[in-house]
Amino acid sequence: MIRLENLTIALDNWHMTVNLTVETGGFCALIGPSGAGKSTILNTIAGFVPHVPGQLFIQEMDMAGLEPAERPVAMLFQDHNLFAHLTIEQNVALGINASLKLDMEEKKRVKDALTEVGLEGMQDRLPRALSGGQRQRASLARAILRKKPVLLLDEPFAALGPALRKDMLRLVSNLAARNDQTVIMVTHHPEDAKLTASQTALVHEGRIAQTGPTKDVFAHPSEELIDYLG
């Protein structure tokens, strides 16, 4: 379970207070207008925003003071998930061995992860030789290899076409379900939430304006959600 209690994030002339609970194994979509702070919430959970008042628990463990790398979290960013000068294999291997001196067993694990996301045979290519979708599959392979209980997705598929995006979302939710991962995903597309998320939260004007099971949220939209959906 992920719990955010009165988590207060303050930037220059903007602040938000977040209360949100996501059950273990749940898939929560964060939707809301641009600049509402969706990505900031993910960055805070991942440990990139310093000195945040309030409390953040992941599986009842207090996250205060933990470095990003120490948190039980794997994250996919909007872009630059892959290092452009490293091969796909090296990029994925960073998830298990940061020195990149891999033994046979680790090489096999990397290979398996690549097969799992449908990139077999591409391990020696550089990211620029892959399509956008393939690149995000590679990033996903690394995120899965890291075996973290929580997966954070910061619109990683925003640049892909609708069909490809749906494919990727299905792949993510299948893989997450298989690995018992809890997912929080930021998206601009309400239909993405409807497609994959068990839970949806609307971020609006510095707070969570509405949250609950996805079906309920869209069945009984709040005024803010109606405004947002237009």
Binding site: F48, E67, A69, H80, F83, H85, L94, A98, L100
Partner: protein
């Protein structure tokens, strides 16, 4: 909670502080040394009833040096910039085979040892050169490369390529839509110049003028070789003469102080006047315009490009040929050349080290500091820019020469100052590269928890080696060819290669000097290529 990680992954607190303090400290200490000598002088002058200001105004020679400094810099800046306009336009309009070769060649004067370029200019424009022959055939007997004309020619030689490259970028940065629109509207060259080109020029010209002006104000080797008589002495050279000819430390201090104040003022003005140019931008492609398709326009563009290439290429070619001939005639005096080359190599490598030790931490510091404090981090680079090495060297020398032998001081001081001089260039190359790594991968690195050693090996080194190689190449080439501080303090019996060349020039052993010039240039370019290509490696993106 996250600052700790950030510091671990990127900035090294103590080196950054040291890198920050050293350049500033050197400038301050040097200024203090100069000032203390000057005020001593001031006190004695006042005892004689002459305050400093009147002393300054009364000093014809100093006034003359100041006027000449400003005059030649102004003229050099205007000439270089004005000539660059038609040249850049021609290069922007025409695409032809060899264009990219010409553009790379335009980068060569930057790493070419100044003294070698002067040898080349002497052979073309000098009293026995072809230009002189043509001019006297037309009855112009009075032209001499020594003095203002020679200085202007040399400064245009060095700065025309720079100004042209910046302006060419301006032309190529004009949106293609504007050209299409112009040709649809049937605009002629005059209206294109007025509505499309002038707004671009207006934005870029002040910055180029200011940049060339600043470079020419602090130009030393050119003035040393081509000027120096009472009619053509700049403040920078007057410092040299005060120490070398008059052994007048008070005067040297006064001049150095004046020079630093002048440069600080100029740098301030140029900062206000200029916007930052992205010099790494591609120079490929040509503008598609329909107004200059006529035969006349084609011929004139062709002629402009050919004259420019001849102006820049002939001296180099001639210096090279005379150098090879000189080497063939006199051979290489290994007993002199080898130690000199090794000294230069040592100085150059040491200056590379100084450059790295200062610019790497500074670049790191600057990408981690945001907002107004960032200006503060730029201060050391700025301090180096405004303190001319001769003035700085004079200050440090005045401070140290009672305690350390000049012979022991000359080479380390040269390496230190050469290294410092390279810092501003290095920062231009290193800071954006580092900032890009941080922007693109900073969060990723922390997220994956890659340790600093692994991160440097796997991420930073492969991505930084290109700008690092280039900045090391520039630093090495600049230092190998430098004839500044070493000319001031260098031991005559243990010269660096450029100083050895200058000694040959002074003794009028021209053939040997050209020969040494070829060797010096080869070494400078070899170092540049070794660092740029060897260390920088193939393209990494």
């Amino acid at each position: 909670m996250t600052d700790k990680a950030s510091r671990n992954a990127f900035a090294f607190g103590i080196p950054a502080t040291i890198a920050f303090i050293i350049p500033l400290g050197l400038v301050v200490v040097s200024l203090w040394a100069l000032w203390s000598v000057t005020t001593n002088d001031l006190a004695t002058e006042q005892a004689g009833g002459r305050p400093l200001l009147s002393h300054l105004i009364d000093d014809i020679y100093l006034r003359r040096a100041l006027t000449f400094t400003l005059t030649q810099a102004t003229l050099s800046a205007i000439l270089s910039t004005l000539l660059a306009i038609p040249l850049a336009r021609a290069l922007a309009t025409r695409s032809f085979p060899g264009r990219s070769a010409i553009l790379s060649f335009f980068g060569a004067p930057f790493i070419l040892p100044v003294i070698v370029a002067i040898l080349g200019l002497l052979s073309i424009w000098g009293n026995k050169g072809p230009v002189q022959a043509i001019m006297s055939a037309f009855g112009f007997e009075n032209f001499s490369i020594y003095g203002l004309w020679g200085i202007l020619i040399a400064h245009v030689f060095f700065n025309l390529p720079l100004a042209t490259r910046i302006l060419l970028q301006g032309w190529l940065a004009l949106p293609a839509e504007q050209w299409r629109l112009a040709s649809q509207l049937g605009m002629n060259s005059a209206s294109i110049a007025r509505y499309i080109e002038w707004p671009m020029l207006k934005e870029r010209l002040p910055g180029i003028l200011a940049l060339v002006f600043l470079l020419c104000t602090t130009s030393f080797t050119v003035i040393l070789a081509l000027g120096g008589g009472p009619r053509a002495t700049t403040i920078e050279l007057a410092i040299y003469q005060a120490i070398r000819f008059d052994f007048d430390m008070e005067r040297a201090a006064l001049l150095a102080f004046l020079q630093i104040i002048l440069c600080a003022g100029l740098a301030l003005v140029s900062r206000v006047a200029s916007t930052d140019f992205d010099t790494g931008q591609s120079l490929g492609g040509a503008v598609l315009r329909t107004d200059r398709n006529g035969r006349l326009a084609q011929w004139s563009d062709g002629a402009i490009i050919m004259v420019a290439v001849a102006f820049l290429g002939m001296p180099l070619l001639s210096a090279f040929i005379r150098g090879i001939w000189g080497l063939g005639l006199h051979g290489i005096d290994w007993g002199q050349i080898l130690p000199a080359a090794l000294r230069s190599t040592g100085v150059s490598l040491a200056s590379c080290l100084v450059m790295l030790l200062i610019s790497l931490p500074l670049a790191q510091l600057s990408i981690h500091i945001e907002g107004k404090a960032r200006r503060f981090v730029e201060l050391p680079g700025y301090a180096i820019m405004v303190a001319p090495p001769i003035a700085l060297g004079a200050g440090l020398f005045i401070l140290l020469h009672q305690h350390v032998s000049v012979d022991d001081l000359a080479l380390p001081l040269t390496a230190l100052l050469n290294g410092l001089q390279a810092v501003p260039f290095a920062l231009i190359l290193l800071t954006p590269a580092m900032a890009q790594i941080k922007r693109n991968y900073g969060m990723q690195l922390r997220h994956l928890g890659i340790k600093r050693r692994d991160a440097i090996r796997i991420i930073h080194w492969p991505l930084m080696r290109k700008p690092l190689g280039l900045s090391l190449g520039i630093a090495a080439a600049l230092s190998i060819g430098d004839l500044g501080v070493i000319a001031l303090f260098g031991s005559p019996s243990a010269p660096t290669l450029p100083l050895y060349l200058y000694q040959q020039l002074g003794a009028y052993r021209m053939d040997q000097a050209y020969g040494t010039g070829v060797l010096l240039t080869s070494i400078a370019f070899a170092f540049f290529v070794l660092f740029d290509k060897g260390l920088g490696g193939r393209d990494q993106t």
